[in-house]
Amino acid sequence: MAGWTHHTGRAVHLPLANVDTDQLIPARFMSVPRSEGYGSYLMHDLRRDAAGNLTPAFPLNRATDASVLIAGRNFGSGSSREAAVYALVDAGFRAVFAPSFGDIFASNAVNNGLLPAVLDAQGLTAVQEALTQQADCVVDLEACQLSIGAVRVPFVLEESWREKLVNGWDDIDLTLHHAPQISDYRARRAAQIWVWPKAGS
């Protein structure tokens, strides 16, 4: 996975709280292999009416070229399905800004190069206002700052996640550097006889 420090794109505002992973991708699409692409499933039911037609008023249907999502509280709550992140990434999104995120969603996002950035209430209001003027924005992972025109808003991101996004690090590679500590630990754990599943069950 390639790292990144700056992203220039267009932002779209989705003023909804609690957009859960079942909204991000309904369960019925999850048996598809990733190689087929998940972008067309993103918020599949949320952006359509009962007859299955795209609702023109839905923000994501208007801004089809958006790569930065400004969302409401508790974004990505619910299940651990990483497919929710695949749908965003495959639809071209690089960053999501929200006041809070579902924990598992946020770590899944970082594992796929998607930025889950936390905005405070003041920042969110400033971004919303700026977006009424223009959608072009710059995400700066070095300064932890989102710029829309002259408006600059800081965002919060855990440092270990920032480094991972910037460097495009892969956890398995990092972990293998700790092989000696892991094998020491395993030997200690093995001495605790109750820990291991009873053989031959």
Binding site: A27, S31, D45, N111
Partner: protein, 464 residues
């Protein structure tokens, strides 16, 4: 003198291999559970040409796509392929699988405890958010995404930041027909869906001690709906009795060593938590959700809030929920007609849940159709030995095989568009049980009460 520590501190210290300068810990995984949805993770492993580090510590389970009828020949190609893919991956890596026809088949969070794979003091992971269920045993258990599942497959470890510790204490005694489900929906309604974000919740107090393992699992299961990735209960005699004699549980000297290790898994008296909440158990009524988020929950005897009475930041969500659910502010919950009912899931698909529902249904007829899917084939067998299947059938409900079923609908058990379902599951998200489905979460006894009256009802009135 040693610093007083919480249960979380002790479990964390026991599993931490390395802590980086940035505060992220490399943790050892004692048990790893995979299901059909884990195909992405196996594909990632294959893409790197990597092999599994510890195949003997991973167990595969067919549950999410498991057909609950007509298992001999699966008609749907996608479902058959999902199950076959898991079987193939398990075979390729030498992982033990509980397949569709295994006498112990069941939902991963029902099967793990039942088989004694879940023990106090372990770290347990699964690519499923309700992995918090296993914390009921005093284990460190949490759901992970596919990239993390691949990491566990390849290394048997996980990078994780230690969450903050939160304790929810339920003091006193629950009222009649009030259950662990009501405790969980109650605290989530009170604190909100992000009330425990980034926290590991330890449940304590007399009302928690008084719960069976089934009840404790229900409580821990729903932690994620309040934003917590972890839920846990300190192990005690109830825990040890449940574990003893299970197929994979330790025996002989290992059992003694286990008991000695497990008895220290309590929060020290002087330990401090980042957040403490105390709830009076006697104040909890049978509770159900009315909206599309678990925090939109109320006692059954409540009326639906007027929008003006909803906090401003939650008003748009309440309005949207009313529209989706077809409900009106100011209306009473009691008496709202339901179209169907569902009993099952990893939240409330255990034997105690089926007994509670059956005790309401016995000698009564359901006025609406409904599905009863036991949490595992062993729960099914036990229920049949007790004659509960007859109670459900006599009431007019369908008694089917075990799996995730209508909790998520991946196997084709769906609620129709616009239909209102009284459900013992864990998520009332829009479309969770099917496109346009209207889900009300509640306890199994409350589901049974809705079945026999055809409307949302207070189980305490129904059984009177």
């Amino acid at each position: 003198m040693e610093m007083p520590s919480t249960l979380l501190d002790k479990l964390w210290a026991d599993h931490e291999i390395v802590r980086r300068d940035d505060g992220t810990s490399l943790m050892w995984v004692d048990r790893h559970l995979v299901h059909e949805g884990s195909h992405h993770a196996f594909a990632k492993l294959a893409a790197r040409g990597a092999s599994m580090a510890e195949p003997a510590l991973t167990f595969a389970v067919v549950d999410h796509y498991a057909p609950t009828r007509g298992r001999a020949k699966i008609a749907d190609h996608d479902i058959a392929r999902m199950i076959a893919t898991l079987e193939d991956n398990a075979a390729a890596h030498g992982v033990q699988i509980f397949g569709l026809h295994d006498p112990a088949q069941g939902i991963v969070h029902v099967l793990g405890p039942e088989q004694g794979l879940t023990l106090p003091g372990l770290m347990i992971n699964c690519g499923d958010s309700h992995t918090s269920t296993h914390g009921a045993f005093g284990a460190l258990a949490f759901g992970i995404g596919a990239t993390e599942v691949a990491h566990v497959l390849a290394t048997q470890t996980l990078w994780q930041r230690k969450p903050r510790a939160m304790r929810i204490t339920f003091e006193g005694v629950l009222g009649p027909h009030v259950t662990a489900k009501d405790m969980a929906l109650g605290w989530i309604a009170q604190l909100g869906t992000d009330g425990a974000r980034g926290m590991a919740v330890e449940y304590a107090g007399d009302a928690v001690r008084g719960l069976s393992m089934e009840g404790r699992m229900t409580l821990c299961n729903l932690s994620i709906e309040g934003g917590a990735r972890f839920g846990m209960v300190a192990p005690d005699a109830v825990t040890f009795d449940y574990v003893k004699g299970r197929p994979f549980a330790p025996t002989g000297a290992a059992w003694g060593a286990g008991l000695a290790a497990w008895r220290r898994l309590v929060s020290d008296r002087q330990a401090t938590f980042d957040r403490e909440v105390t709830i009076d158990a006697a104040s909890i009524a049978p509770t159900l959700t009315w909206g599309t988020s678990p925090e939109q929950a109320l006692p059954i005897d409540a009326t639906l809030p007027q929008l003006a009475d909803v906090p401003a930041d939650k008003r748009p969500a309440a309005q949207a929920a009313y529209d989706y659910m077809g409900l009106t502010p100011g209306a009473r919950l009691v008496g709202t007609p339901v179209d169907q009912v569902f009993l099952g899931s990893c939240t409330n698909g255990r034997i105690e849940d089926l007994r509670a529902a059956a005790s309401v249904l016995r000698g009564r007829k359901a006025l609406v159709p409904g599905l009863v899917s036991p949490g595992s084939a062993l729960v099914k067998a036990q229920a049949e030995a007790e004659g509960l299947d007859r109670v459900f059938a006599d009431a007019g409900l369908d008694w089917v095989s075990s799996g995730c079923s209508m909790c998520v609908g991946m196997n084709g058990d769906l609620v129709g568009a616009g239909k209102r379902c009284a459900s013992s599951t864990n998520r009332n998200f829009r479309g969770r049980q099917g496109q346009g489905a209207r889900t009300h979460l509640m306890s199994p006894a409350m589901v049974a009460a809705a079945a026999v009256t055809g409307v949302l009802s207070d189980v305490r009135e129904v059984v009177r």
